[in-house]
Symmetry: C2
Subunit: 455 residues, 2 copies
């Protein structure tokens, strides 16, 4: 692989020279040999004036392959399209797989979209218009209409003929879907089965009638999970009356899995996903500040709580020393429990019974970790400060804190899930701050209660 | 889809009855119609005595399909295999795709593996033995040897004949790899191309000579990234002299992406990945305690730091009130910066220049968020406590803390990456605790320095 990559990097210089010398033949000879992903990587690195030359070197169809492979974080679709001749742009969009064209058009405003669709050839425009309807993050929004469908009363031979004709345009030819006269999905057959069976076999005899499908409005995360579990290379999308509308291919699902995981990850750390991309400090600060300000006010609330115990603090200033330790441990265990619960929910284990068991398990885990950490702390504080009562106070606070924080860490995302809020928004810092508050209440509550032993 | 799932759930009852009545025909009629993933889900829920009956109902080949679809978290391979007749078990392992069989055998001890390989038919044993050599998490460990290879001097027609013969055993037939007499990889051709071209076309004319491959020892994460970027359905694996050894298929890569993302996620929260699975509180506590104990001692260190400022604290007990706020904000911004840096590294943006830019960007972000949060805090504390100096002290501490914590959050994972340590092990709680310490030093340092204004 690295060999191929090295070659691609070597070719970059030659391609740039070809552009600057306006040498179309040399450019095409090298560029069209490259994988479209490498083509896209090269294209997005170009300056504006060089891009203009590339549009003239390539056909709309060739440019479509480049566009299909531009990664989301590099997207400047609007700029690129505005640089192109509108007819060229419309032809290119028509040549792209419909789902990819829709991704591009979703970045533009409505007027621009309407303009391109007007210039475009009717069939392609119609396909794209249908897909533009579906809401983001649903099966409909990631499906393509370029699938191959046949009828059950055909033979393997005639199915293979259809397949040969449609292969250049279909996004996948490895599954062929079987529909009835009403366009209802009745079966599926893989290309593997078509090849193994005799040419005169009827499709109805060999097709698989137990065909898994998803309805258009289903969340893309659910689609991804099913495709991963069942190892499908493509999954048909139907409306609520089982009419075949499109298919979702595995390459789109790989992207979904990656995006969703990175979304959960970013939320655990309270950063928006946009932030991991290459933006300046202002946009990074803008995306993080809302969280920080919320956390700041929660922190002020914690401070006001401690303020209420000022009298206790005045008497035994030493108490303050253990605040970060206790609050920190509460935050740590809470984050651990949170991560486990969010993960559990996101892999789809959401039966009441399973979640009930999870809470009980977390409570048990809190008791065990709390007991052990509590004993360790008691001993360390006793040895360090020579004060067994202070040690016991801190130790018992840790025990109580860890139990409460672990349960809270698991319970809050579950409640959010029940309230149909995505539990991943209960980010680590949020849980940490909630647990700060709980731990301070426990610690100073106990200290105030047993003040006479401390002085 | 839900329809299919509903049907599968309905069938469960009938299958259980068939088992209890020892009705093999009824069981097979329903069970063999199901998708292997559903079969596996049903199988792992069975009690031991019911499983024994299932082994008698199914052929080794049918059982192999079930085994291939058992998910890692449900694995009790050792138990299952020990329940089977050894010859049946060996036959089943031989029927499985070699990469899946190796996954199962990796759970057993060496003696057991040797036993099964001895009973097994030679060809299959040889294949498995080869794959067992490769280290975990490398391309070699997830590849399979069941690919289809042809020579360049064949025609499309003869290639299709080979494909038809090998289709039942190959893990994918959608890519055919072209090798020379030395078994060196020289090209690739997709089934799509074979179908589109005329039967008498030579493979050498239509094959793609720019074939991307990976070497056996490459990390599986790198393989996953390439397959995702290039949308490959399969990727050939070669040795360092370009001999074709096996292929990796997209379904295995989907699992890798999911695992790696979930690993990063778990580490951010300082839980081991095992923990998200269904284990009891003792094993959960056991996996979390090491982290908690380390964090506990770091927390004790923080406490001892505050202890050094006991004199300052004794004079102005009010200072203690803001400890959790300042330490908390440091932890939050640090975690944000950490998540961004880890994510950046894990998507492979690891050129020095990019990472240098990241640090500068994070510093800028820290200055902006610090300034805004600092001003907000100063105002709130002034209004609340009526003490402009205390407000300014807390505000400046927040400013300094946010800058330092943001840089630390980004810098520590980068240093770890440079030292070839996986930066994801610098979990959120670890960074949080480091930042607790830095923030306490800043806050109490400033307070002690300007003590005269506070009293």
């Amino acid at each position: 692989m690295s060999e191929e990559r090295d070659k691609v990097e070597l070719e970059e210089g030659t391609l740039l020279t070809a552009i600057s010398e306006n040498n179309m033949d040399q450019f095409r000879e090298i560029f069209l040999e490259q994988h479209p992903y490498d083509q896209a990587k090269f294209f997005v690195k170009l300056e504006g004036h060089d891009r203009l030359i590339v549009y003239h070197f390539l056909s709309p169809e060739e440019m479509a392959a480049v566009f299909e492979n531009i990664e989301d974080e590099d997207d400047q679709y609007e700029t690129y399209l505005s640089e192109m001749d509108p007819t060229f742009a419309a032809q290119m969009l028509a040549q792209m797989y419909a789902d990819d064209a829709v991704d591009v058009l979703n970045e533009l405003d409505k007027d621009q979209v309407a303009n391109y669709l007007t210039i475009m050839e009717d069939g392609a425009a119609e396909e794209i218009r249908e897909l533009l309807h579906y809401e983001e993050y649903t099966a409909g929004s990631i499906m393509t209409t370029e699938y191959i469908a046949i009828h059950a009363n055909q033979t393997v031979h005639s199915a293979m003929q259809i397949l040969k004709n449609e292969a250049p345009n279909a996004e996948t030819i490895y599954y062929v879907f079987v529909i009835d006269e009403d366009k209802k999905l009745v079966g599926v057959i893989s290309l593997r089965d078509l090849i193994i069976n005799e040419p005169d076999t009827m499709i109805s005899e060999i097709m698989n009638e137990r065909v898994y499908s998803v309805t258009v409005a289903v969340d893309q995360e659910e689609v991804a999970r099913k495709m991963k579990d069942y190892n499908f290379l493509a999954l048909p999308v139907v409306d609520f009356r089982d009419h075949l509308l499109g298919i979702i291919t595995v390459d789109d699902i790989v992207d979904v899995i990656d995006e969703e995981a990175s979304e959960d990850y970013s939320r655990l750390a309270a950063v928006s996903d946009v932030d991991s991309q290459d933006r300046g400090p202002f946009s990074a600060a803008k995306s993080r500040l809302p969280w920080l300000i919320i956390l700041l006010f929660l922190g002020m609330f914690t401070a006001s709580l401690i303020g209420r115990f000022e009298e206790t603090l005045d008497k035994v200033a030493m108490l303050a020393v253990f605040i970060p330790l206790i609050a920190g441990m509460a935050g740590n265990t809470g984050t651990q429990a949170l991560a486990v619960a969010v993960r559990r929910i996101s892999v789809g284990d959401t039966q009441d019974q399973t979640l009930g068991k999870l809470i009980i398990r977390e409570a048990g885990t809190g008791v065990i970790t709390g007991t052990i950490c509590g004993i360790v702390v008691t001993l360390v504080v006793f040895i360090w400060q020579g004060d067994i009562f202070l040690g016991t106070l801190v130790g018992i606070s840790i025990l109580a804190t860890l139990i409460v924080a672990t349960i809270a860490g698991a319970f809050i995302p579950l409640i959010m899930h029940r309230l149909k809020v995505d539990p991943a928004v209960a980010s680590g810092p949020f849980i940490t701050t909630i647990n700060d508050i709980l731990s301070i209440l426990i610690y100073f509550g106990l200290a105030t209660l047993f003040m006479q032993y401390l002085i």
